[in-house]
């Protein structure tokens, strides 16, 4: 006796339920974004306004004349009760107003807009290097588990986990710049080109390519390749290790046996069936590593004199420019939140099981 299954048994849920499910996801995302951002601002408010004994001093330094101090105190609303201060702070921050940098005398947001593309370019290239090498390495290590390749990947990864990046940066400068002369002096572009090259997007590699300035492109490349490779190495360590774990997990699944029983080649089984499944959690890993490279820029950019947000923050730190430091913190924090949300969305689109749930 055979009962053909009815279509309701297949569908599982009606269209209305699915739409409601989608609305619930959007609502949850909104709650997460709003509370996380509020939390970020509360913490920076606490750091900037509550911890310092005199926030005005923290912003202006101790050399400011008395009438300026009084005016700034008024402007910052420090005479108001704390909760009103926080509301004002909130309003300002939401409009992207983080005050003025003492060091550059520009609004902090203007400064950050100027330096952000440099960091963005560096971290993106680093993540690209890390993923394009790290994922295949992790796959190979998992497939040839226990082999020499596996051991090598493990050791390369362990060192990448454990090495102080600023130190590795110094040593690599010593080797590749001072000794071998393979790369350019720290910085982003040679002084020669600073006047002949007008970037549009702020991403020098793309800009020079777009404008067909090959000599500029070569120079930019010689500047970026070392810091990007270092960041790439750090993300490679993380990505290859996680790829290996995910692949080991997938390769032990029954659907792999089924794929073999179908007569598929090992190449297709590994690089298509298993990797396509491992890619679902890998997206989160790559996103996290991208975020950590943005943050790691604080340490690498100082060594390579890379004019990005990391260098901006550390320079401001050294000059006790609190507005700039906190503005930078909020911007990096906001990017973190955005990356988290994006990776979550990407995860959902890659995994059919979580789609529209």
């Amino acid at each position: 006796m055979t009962l053909p299954e009815t279509s309701q048994m297949v569908a599982g849920r009606s269209k209305g339920a699915r739409a409601r499910g989608r609305a619930a996801i959007v609502a949850r995302f909104l709650v997460v974004i709003v509370t996380t951002y509020l939390g970020l601002l509360a913490v920076t408010f606490f750091i900037g306004r509550v911890i310092p004994i005199d926030p005005v001093l923290a912003v202006l330094g101790d050399r400011a004349p008395a009438h300026v101090v009084e005016r700034v105190r008024e402007e910052m609303g420090l005479n108001l009760p704390l909760y009103q201060q926080f509301l004002r702070y909130l309003g300002d921050a939401l409009q992207g107003n983080f005050g003025t940098s003492v060091l550059t005398t520009n609004p902090v947001m203007t400064d950050i807009r100027r330096v952000l593309p440099a960091t963005f370019e560096l971290a993106t290239l680093g993540t690209l290097i890390g993923s394009l090498i790290g994922v295949p390495l992790g796959v190979l290590a998992a497939v040839k588990r226990g082999s020499l390749i596996d051991q090598a990947v493990r050791i390369v990864g362990l060192i990448g986990y454990s090495v102080p990046i600023f130190w590795l940066a110094l040593l690599s400068l010593l080797l590749f710049y001072a000794q071998l002369r393979w790369v350019a002096f720290p910085g982003r572009i040679d002084v020669v080109y600073e006047y002949t090259f007008t970037p549009k997007t702020g991403l020098f590699l793309l800009d020079s390519l777009w404008q067909g300035q090959w000599d500029v492109f070569r120079d930019v490349f010689r500047h970026i390749i070392l810091p990007a490779s270092l960041l790439g190495y750090v993300s490679l360590a993380y990505i290859s290790r996680m790829t290996r774990n995910f692949m080991l997990n997938e390769l032990s699944q029954e659907y792999i046996v089924a794929a073999r029983a179908k007569g598929l080649s090992e190449t297709r089984i590994i690089w298509f069936h298993a990797l396509r499944n491992a890619a679902v959690p890998l997206v989160t890993v790559i996103a996290l590593s991208y975020a950590s490279l943005l943050e790691g820029s604080v340490l690498t950019e100082t060594v390579f004199a890379w004019p990005g947000i990391g260098l901006y923050i550390t320079n401001s730190l050294q000059n006790a420019d609190m507005n700039a430091v906190l503005g930078g913190t909020i911007v990096i924090g906001s990017i973190f939140i955005a990356i988290n949300i994006l990776s979550d969305i990407l995860y959902r689109t890659l995994d059919p099981r979580t789609r529209a749930r």
């Binding site: 053909p4 279509s7 297949v10 089924a258 029983a261 179908k262 080649s265």
Partner: protein, 277 residues
């Protein structure tokens, strides 16, 4: 007529830290275009026998046999490539649980088409047509829609039908079904078995039906092999099962409850160490 599959003194062993573990220890049988059941408890080597024939044992396993031929092809001497060309094409296998044995991120249709296009030079649209026809053959209604669904969107019974479709689409001559209904709801087990039965009969395939369920196997197969601790303890035609000689088979039979008889306490399966020798 020479048999489709000849297995003589098949041994499968796994080296472990504590020594060699022998999962299959000298199994001999041959198979024509008939339905053979292999029964045994877990760890008896029945699944490993099936996987060894498919060439799906893990790489560190050691496989030896006096003879292991499929349609005159020596499987032990065949290159990995030759064996791969057999798999899914002339010899196929159905796994236990469709929840795990279907790739969760691929649609049902793509997985079926993949088998076909691996073994036949055939265009995409024709492959799709044939896959949908195959889905209809395993009695899935609305096959064109199911074609585009992901495994998690269909029920277990339907998943196993899709699995059967995926494995039979290239029209193999031998099918190994490894506990194909054990993970399914009791209510759909019979449906899936009926479909399997019909297709095997229609297409004249040889079938190895691996199961722990003696009654199921005896009602479904022509011949039954009973395995214990890696060896065959009994080989018998299904209708003669009541006359089984080996005490283990008798034990298995007497464990099955019967309607109308009140047997308390139910007998416990006896396992004598000398059977494993």
């Amino acid at each position: 007529m020479s048999p489709l599959l000849t297995v003589e003194d098949l041994r499968v062993s796994f080296p472990t830290r504590t020594g060699l573990v022998e999962a299959v220890r000298g199994v001999t049988f041959s198979l024509g275009r008939e339905r053979l059941g292999i029964v045994g408890e877990s760890g008896s080597g029945k699944s490993q026998t099936g996987r060894a024939i498919m060439g799906l044992t893990p790489p560190h396993a050691r496989i030896t046999a006096k003879t292991l031929t499929f349609d005159g092809i020596d499987l032990l001497k065949a290159s990995p490539r030759q064996r791969r060309e057999l798999r899914g094409n002339r010899v196929a296998m159905i796994l236990q649980d469709p929840k795990y044995s279907l790739n969760p991120v691929m649609t049902i249709g793509r997985q079926i088409v993949e088998t076909l296009r691996t073994h036949r030079k055939i265009g995409a649209s024709e492959a799709k047509e044939r896959a949908i026809a195959m889905l209809e053959a395993v009695q899935i209604r609305d096959a064109a829609r199911v074609f585009d669904l992901h495994p998690h969107e269909i029920s277990g019974g339907m998943g196993q039908r899709a699995m059967i479709a995926m494995m039979l689409i290239a029209e193999p001559e031998l099918l190994i079904a490894d506990e194909p209904t054990s993970a399914l709801d009791v209510t759909v087990q019979l449906d899936v078995l009926a479909i399997l039965d019909k297709l095997v009969a229609e297409r004249g395939m040889g079938l190895i039906f691996v199961s722990h369920d003696l009654r199921l196997v005896s009602s479904f197969c022509d011949r039954v092999i009973v395995m214990y601790a890696g060896r065959i303890v009994e080989e018998i035609a299904a209708q003669d099962l009541r006359n089984a000689r080996h005490p283990y088979t008798q034990g298995l039979l007497s464990c099955m409850p019967e309607i109308g008889s009140d047997r308390h306490p139910l007998p416990v399966l006896d396992r004598k160490p000398e059977w494993a020798l």
